[in-house]
Symmetry: C2
Amino acid sequence: MKKLVLIISLLSVVAIARSTEHPSLMLTKQGVVKMKKELGKFPAFDATIAQTKAMADLAVSSPIDVPVPKDGGGGFTHEKHKDNYYSMYYCGIMYQITGDKKYAQYVDMVLEKYLKLYPTLGYHPVKMSANPGRLFWQTLNDFVWLVHTSVAYDCIYDYLPAAKREVYNERLFKPMAHFLMDGSDVNKKIFNKMHNHATWACAAVGMIGYVMDDKELIQKALLGTDLTGKNGGYIQQLNELFSPDGYFTEGAYYERYAIWPFVIFAQAINNNEPERKIFLYRDAILKKAVAALSQMTYNGDFFTLNDALKKGFSAQELVFADNILYSADNSQKYLLDISKKYQSFFLPTDAGFAVARDIALGQSKSFVLKSNLFRDGSDGKEGGLAILRSPNPAENTTFLMKATSHGLSHGHFDKLTISYYDDGNPILVDYGASRFLNIVVKYNGGYTPLNDKYAMTTIAHNTVTVDQKSHYNGDIKISSLYAPTIYCYDISNPQVQVCSAFETHATDGVKMQRTNAVIEDIGGERVILDIFKLTSEKSHTYDLPFYYNGDMISLSTPYTKALNSMGVFGEANGYEFLWKEGWAKPADSMVCFTWLKGKRFYSITTVTDSNAFLYFVRTGANDPEYYLRSDPGFVIRESNVKNHTFLSAIETHGKYDLIVEKTENAVSAVKALKIVEDNDNYTIVNFEVNGEKANFRIDYNKNASAQKWSYNKY
Amino acid sequence: MKKLVLIISLLSVVAIARSTEHPSLMLTKQGVVKMKKELGKFPAFDATIAQTKAMADLAVSSPIDVPVPKDGGGGFTHEKHKDNYYSMYYCGIMYQITGDKKYAQYVDMVLEKYLKLYPTLGYHPVKMSANPGRLFWQTLNDFVWLVHTSVAYDCIYDYLPAAKREVYNERLFKPMAHFLMDGSDVNKKIFNKMHNHATWACAAVGMIGYVMDDKELIQKALLGTDLTGKNGGYIQQLNELFSPDGYFTEGAYYERYAIWPFVIFAQAINNNEPERKIFLYRDAILKKAVAALSQMTYNGDFFTLNDALKKGFSAQELVFADNILYSADNSQKYLLDISKKYQSFFLPTDAGFAVARDIALGQSKSFVLKSNLFRDGSDGKEGGLAILRSPNPAENTTFLMKATSHGLSHGHFDKLTISYYDDGNPILVDYGASRFLNIVVKYNGGYTPLNDKYAMTTIAHNTVTVDQKSHYNGDIKISSLYAPTIYCYDISNPQVQVCSAFETHATDGVKMQRTNAVIEDIGGERVILDIFKLTSEKSHTYDLPFYYNGDMISLSTPYTKALNSMGVFGEANGYEFLWKEGWAKPADSMVCFTWLKGKRFYSITTVTDSNAFLYFVRTGANDPEYYLRSDPGFVIRESNVKNHTFLSAIETHGKYDLIVEKTENAVSAVKALKIVEDNDNYTIVNFEVNGEKANFRIDYNKNASAQKWSYNKY
């Protein structure tokens, strides 16, 4: 009886199927013809094809294994199912390029195994995720499996007999797509969410939809399961997840990840429904997204804001983004430069071919890092990320202040935190995420418990913690309701670039405003003024850490170091993960801390008063599983005050040259630093560097168009 | 009256002076003619000349400052006197190359200031050295000043009127040379020492001797102040400071430094007395020295054995060594490769020109790192450094055991210590030196007190400490009397390379023998067996640390970590500088510790018994001045035993690929590891890796020619 129903339904499906052209996701019929004609002309692209062929050949010559799912990220079955989708993907593409049926056959054989396995599966046995998949421990990986497999399936679609296709469609892909789309309340919720997981979900469902010409799947992927376009789906994600400047709400590290399904699905949409002009949608938001993402880097690596590991342009998802975007808009020549400098391969597709060819034709244009304000929020009104860069690219300097919205589940409680990069190195940066990606023994490769408990807390960041509590008391729901305000971002004078932002909700009753001025040359040095103003009617303890990278060189005031035994910095909210390595009661009105990284010295000179206390801390306490790195920090504490303004000068100086064993200007040149006036309307500071004197004034109550700061040497 | 004497003595000197050709130290008349003719033909060399000219021009256009000496290393007057000798050196050379008198004039003007200053100087006011100089805090820097200034003076010698030369000779250079050579008992002692400082001293005195044609200075520089050649001098240094294999008694880091005066003086000798055939002396010992030094590197950096910082081929002294050696022996084509790969400039001299030209002519040949045993001791009988390298250069692997003599004042108490480098990274290495070279605030730029107290101690090294005391109880005098014995060094089978050495004096009554077998492929992995056999009639505590580089991933037995408070590892002999970060009482007969560095995993599987205890340690305790880095170590302790054999398998495995987010073989594949038999005559061990089984046997009492080990898969 069941069999009969199935046959009837198969027939009806066949009856209404429009004959879509194949391939049409990552490759097109036309594109393949063109690419084949040009093989042998562009060695770099030939190398990519040879590589792809090597992977495909390896797959074809290896035993096929489609195991019953068992392990979490990094474990055997997890990695095997990943291998399988890559193998199918490579073989599908090689079938198109060579016409050799062994590749198509391989994909077919693997799919047959999945066809047998998949209907037998319940939820994945590793119960670590609130949204378990079937092949993998979380649906996210199932989405990625389906995205890759769709490409492979698309490539061999015409190779398969119609009847076999229909079996795959009806018994493997449609059940899978429906499971992922709305197979449960939680899956449906995720599918319709505004979140990078949902982008993968929509790409997966939409792409397999295009292959099978299943209009329902396509429509729901584009417009959400209720088809209104207002409660989910890819189009709404394009509207909401990016700011008008292309900033992705979760920050650079997750924009890197999200951009992959965004562009791969865009490519599929463009090939199948060119009339949608998806690459031009919302004022070409995908182009802006890739541009913004490219700018949120230092030396090819993404800023480690929010949950982030070290990753950069070399990651495969960036190859997708850069290749696909370039082929969609050939005017983006900087993408060729990124490909050349950082990426070791191309996509073995129409898009990759375009990039390889145009690099060979010498069309690449320098990718230049610039100062940028990337506003956050779909309307651009939820704060933003302010980046200030030295006008001389050889200086290779990046300063940034993060004053964005919370950024969903991967966001940190880090309002107004700053980072500084110089001479090829991170100098002052946040911890990033506590995670050992894909290393099973480290919490199954997922975010460790210390990610929430430490990495997300305010004290883990270069911003002020009030009364040892995280911003918004560490409550993401409340944090997500508010965003800081960018008060000033002025790069009109490249020699003195200024940003200022304020935050009034993060700590009840305390207004925080941070102002940074990157001064390229005073007394021959780059000095970054850091004016962190706190206003409150009640007394508080304010902690301002600077997590530095390098070797501690000196502190200008006597300090005590933990010698025979060492305790922790605090009891809760992240403090318990910091060793209290040293401390000092500053004796002067100004203290200077100097460290060395690579070939340069860095100093933080900070104004201190009788309420000030200094600490040296190091991550790693209360960490029984070795989840944390051992990173050092310097903390300025101001106790028992209502209003307080931290004033520091972050200085880049000197030269440490081991080739000729020579040291120059190892000592800070900031000889004076003083708050001259400080009230609700403005702060004026004076400072002196190598004998050159200057003052800086920031006004707090100016309207949008007014000049908000001034700087004068005198 | 004084004046008259001076004039008379001047006259007599003039009378006996032979007319030496100038220049004849780093440049020759002939060489300059040749070089000038070829300018414009070799862009890389032209760039070096342009650079030299830029430095010379900068000097010429800057005010001359010859300050009264005041500061230690890195301080103002120290750096200024260094600047001055570099400036004179560049200007001297540019005078020869361009003929422009302004350069000669500059050298003359600076020398005039030194002529005024020098006679007024007593010992340098910074009293940090047992052998204070006059211009610098230690005579060493005065030697270096004189080496460079000799070159400059040589270049302008013919430019100066004879009378002026004589004034410089008599009132500046001869007094200086005599002060440095035998101006005091301690100076005379240093001059005649077998030590790198003495090499600088002899080079300085000999080179200025050649310029002035002062036979006494030349002879004493070559043969020592007693002119016998048996109690000091350059020739004896050539005989004694190098082993027959070119190993320098102080190790690679100081060979790097010593090679500079060795080659620069050799060049001067060769130009002035070619009949000495100095480059062929002692079977071409300088050629061997440079070859050995080049081999004692990883990725272009010298092994950090003994007192060492991170330094490599890019250091200027290596440019001297490589350029001069190559010009002395054009068959050493690998030196061209080193120059190309690691060095950013050439010497602006005959030698540098030869290198630049021959690179341009395509004569470079690959510099290949090989397995080598470098015997120590002038007769090659004081142990040695055993280096084992993977036969496939792409693997980029280096394992080494240090079983050398103490190595003078920069030696460490580290008998039989091992190091391991892989995939571009140090994996297991020693701490090196505790020093912030030329950073004044860090102990005046010199070796910090923790260099003796920690960096030199046995516990700071990857070898066994007995009863928490350093080898030879930390007494350099006794340590210098003995050396370990290389028992076996066998690289005949590149797939299984073996070294073994023993030491019987380092700890009273304990014989230590360490055997390492680098097995390239068992179960698809590289495994290094580490068999450390201790034999004693009394009970002891044996500690074997492995200082690892990377992130701790896992330990196969439950462990405890210091959570809220952390104490130290011990009370004395270096232990007090280690935090006790974690500990474990192993439950099994075998324990595996895994860490991650870069793209690979590393594991140490070690055999444990009921007396074993494990520790995780970290440098930095009892370090009030932040002299130490924060480096982690894993320590195996065996308590209260007489004989004990540590058996460990050091494994390189897996792949951590962040580009495609993939992890392979993150878990150790060593499934069995066992000592099957262990007695005075041999040790037999069994082990199993990825299902492949093998045994290894080391025999302890074989004669020199006998086969001492066997390895069989079964």
